[in-house]
Subunit: 116 residues, 2 copies
């Protein structure tokens, strides 16, 4: 027996969870939406729609994108996105710990290969 969960934030129908978090994290590291999307096996256009300045699919604009130019363009995450990620990390850490504890407390007697 194990517990399985999906948890995400929702802002008027726009979602923020593990996938968007992971993509932003990679943009932060690589300063490139192209590379971030590549690393995740995701189409660049899809990644762009999720986090572009128009933020069709995002909780709010998360990326500053530069197209072309001397350095060949690039992407940076916004201060607001950085803040969201920080809070998301704290939130995730806290509830995951509680989930493990709740499971152990109530199903410890069945425990075998818990996947959290």
């Amino acid at each position: 027996m194990k517990v399985i969960y999906k948890v995400w934030l929702d802002n008027n129908g726009k979602a923020f969870g593990e996938g968007p978090y992971e993509l932003l994290k990679r943009v932060e590291q690589t300063q490139s939406l192209h590379q971030a999307a590549n690393q995740m096996g995701m189409a660049y256009s899809k990644a762009g729609q999720s986090f572009g300045s128009r933020s069709k699919g995002s909780v709010f604009p998360c990326l500053d994108r530069k197209v072309g130019g001397r350095s060949g363009g690039g992407s940076q995450i916004t201060a607001r996105a950085k803040n969201l990620m920080k809070h998301y990390e704290g939130f995730r850490k806290m509830w995951k710990k509680a989930m493990r504890k709740s499971y152990r407390r109530h199903f410890g007697y069945l425990e075998e290969g818990v996947s959290i």
Copy 2:
């Protein structure tokens, strides 16, 4: 902003979460799988597959079913199912409380219409 979650237990690919819990609860109250399925707008055959003595879809056999007879048959939940429900209730209460607390701690500043 609000948090959305789906949480269930998994036993070798067989799931137990809100739907199965609710169905068992209603069988316990009505002593009838027919009535329980009806109340949930669920096909009797589907409910039966989920929780029959062969327990194709269930974590383990959850129902004792009597077909026909003087009183017209009926269903009761097994002692094992009762135990599972009790633990599930405690588990759910504990992690839900922690989820609310984690959200408030990390996103309280955005809070508006949290749906948990």
